[in-house]
Subunit: 380 residues, 2 copies
């Protein structure tokens, strides 16, 4: 298969975009990526989105976006894997270029969550879980993650306050990203006083929803020798219901997808300069660091406590705010991560720049770890 490069990056700020429709959000990010690449015509479009059918009464986003981007006639389709939708769209866009079938592919993640009634949004997001075996118990998505965090604290002897470094790092980094939803640093006291949402998860352990879109323009690497390349790409799945897993504290799909991506890229975790992980909840950040080979079991929180996840640390994470501070427009998040990693490797990350970064890992999660997609980006 051909190697693929990222020639253009586009994104909208993550906000409550009450004045912008889902089509316009997608078009804004897509057009920005095309302009960044200096390309006016693409061969196909892959859109990642989770909830538009329910919250915007709009399906068939592929054709819709192709039309309003002026890309009449091109192949276009939507992919959905809950919060892992955007990186799933990236996987297929990548395959279209790598296979040689297409030469310029636009990949867009878009989500519009805040204009609907809160209970509508909560119900739409809950469809990421198992509708027959989890939801009937009345547990929310935060509740499921709270159960996992509770178990983690019990198994490994942590207190809920030990998770603070994840929130502090994300907020400090988000303050440097003009597209982030939350652009203010917080301190340990603020974290400690965070209102409990689902014990032990506080407001500062949970990422906020938001509206937004991010996009990449993919081309064969041989056509863009100076552009960031995709060195690894893999997806894996686990049971939808957490209670079906032999080890509820182990993200099996993260291990599988990261290891496959490492192998493709011919690298090990030691080679990674920054890791855009899926910190929908701080417990997920800890579990990701462990499953992807950056910490032993139960040591993900300790890694954060020791400062290794900071911009100056051994493995900087959430360098532009992560889900926690940039915001989590669910079906768009995976492409925000990829866009941010690309900007870092291009040296275009502004105040959030990680000096000398040459290899980045991104990881997008659907549900409670049921779909996990890993990508490794490299400087040319």
């Amino acid at each position: 298969m051909n190697q693929v490069a990222i020639l253009g990056v586009g994104q909208t700020p993550v906000r409550e975009h009450w004045d912008i429709s889902i089509r316009d959000l997608a078009v804004e990010a897509g057009r920005a990526a095309m302009m960044d690449a200096g390309i006016t015509k693409v061969d196909s479009i892959y859109v990642g989105n989770m909830t538009s059918g329910r919250l915007s009464q709009q399906r068939q986003l592929g054709a819709l976006v192709a039309d309003f981007l002026g890309q009449w006639g091109v192949e276009a389709v939507k992919l959905e894997a809950a919060c892992g939708s955007a990186a799933s769209a990236m996987r297929q866009g990548l395959l279209a270029v790598a296979s040689g079938e297409k030469e310029a592919v636009l990949v867009i993640g878009v989500e519009k969550l805040t204009e609907s009634l809160g209970r509508q949004t909560t119900a739409a997001l809950a469809t990421a879980a198992d509708a027959d075996y989890e939801l009937p118990h009345g547990v929310s998505f935060v509740g499921l993650n709270a159960l996992v965090m509770q178990r983690y604290m019990y198994e490994y002897g942590y207190d809920r306050h030990d998770f603070a470094p994840f929130a502090l790092n994300a907020h400090a980094n988000g303050a440097k990203n003009p597209n982030a939803l939350f652009r203010m640093a917080i301190d340990q006291k603020t974290y400690d006083q965070g209102r409990i949402v689902a014990d032990p998860i506080s407001l500062f352990d949970a990422s906020p929803i938001g509206d937004g879109a991010a996009a990449l323009l993919l081309v064969p690497a041989e056509k863009a020798p100076q552009a960031v390349r995709i060195a690894g790409s893999a997806a894996a799945t686990d049971t939808l219901a957490i209670h079906d897993r032999a080890e509820p504290l182990w993200l099996k799909a993260a291990e599988l997808s990261a290891n496959a991506a490492y192998k493709q890229a011919g690298i090990t975790p030691e080679d990674i300069d920054l890791f855009e992980l899926h910190d929908a909840f701080s417990i997920m950040a800890a579990l990701s660091l462990e499953a992807c080979g950056f910490a032993d079991r139960g040591a993900g929180v300790r890694l954060a406590q020791e400062g290794d996840i900071l911009p100056s640390g051994r493995i900087p994470i959430c360098t532009m705010g992560g889900l926690k501070a940039r915001g989590h427009p669910v079906g768009a998040t995976g492409l925000y991560q990829l866009a941010e990693a690309t900007l870092q490797l291009r040296g275009d990350a502004g105040d959030a720049q990680i000096e000398g970064a040459r290899i980045a890992l991104t990881q997008n999660i659907g549900g409670s770890g049921a779909t996990i997609v890993a990508h490794i980006l490299e400087c040319p």
Copy 2:
């Protein structure tokens, strides 16, 4: 790219499956395709579906189906392009094998529509249209097609009764298919007395919704020299809103996708032995025959009147009942078409067998022609 073959076919009957969940429908069809292929382990799974997030409160069908098929860990994702979802999933499954990345890929289309309240289902299906510029006028999906049919009759001088041959052919063919929802032939008098749903569309011009799942198991053709091969595969888009088209009576995306598929296969319409087209409404069957090169503009209905679409005719269509009689489980339909075409080319179509069929065209449509996917299958 590698050539791809269809090693296994599976389907459930199209019915009102009130006693079977969407996961079990998908698993039943997927397992049947794997058993047909004699394969117990696949490399990835692509699922086509339109409405599960809203009507079954279940998203992330890829991971769900992988789990319940016992395919733990494999990559799995859902594609959506309204009623064109299943053939869109086929496109990506095909690409995964053609690129050399995967060696055994399961593609499943599944939909469960009848268990919900009728108005919920109608609202879910309406999301295939443009939510901002079509739906606010209060027009339903049937209403949009009625407007197109009205215009067609006006332009080309037909009466609504002239469309009868499409319904008569579909019902006669569906009677021979044990998986069809409607298994009874109808006569001209029955057609003429059909209750008007949206003038000029009667009950017999509109396909019925239904629940069901169909699946294919794809492998590299070199691994299955005796299996039906995919000689062409292409998708194209048009504006979501019909009123944005310069020619509302021309399915531009059908023309683009069919021509691309013909070119890949190195054939012309004259070489096609049967055509599984997307007769969601009889007007769509007429427009498809014209856009895909089987009739001149305005002559699609005449082609049907002259008997050319019958099993014994020049270009048999809807050979196992089509959407009209087999039923239209929207996000599964594209794979029913592909499954039926495969059975025809294998000589396994039972009473519906088209003798000597060697090349088949399938065409799956999302919305009012906004997403159209064409596949050409060939005997080895």
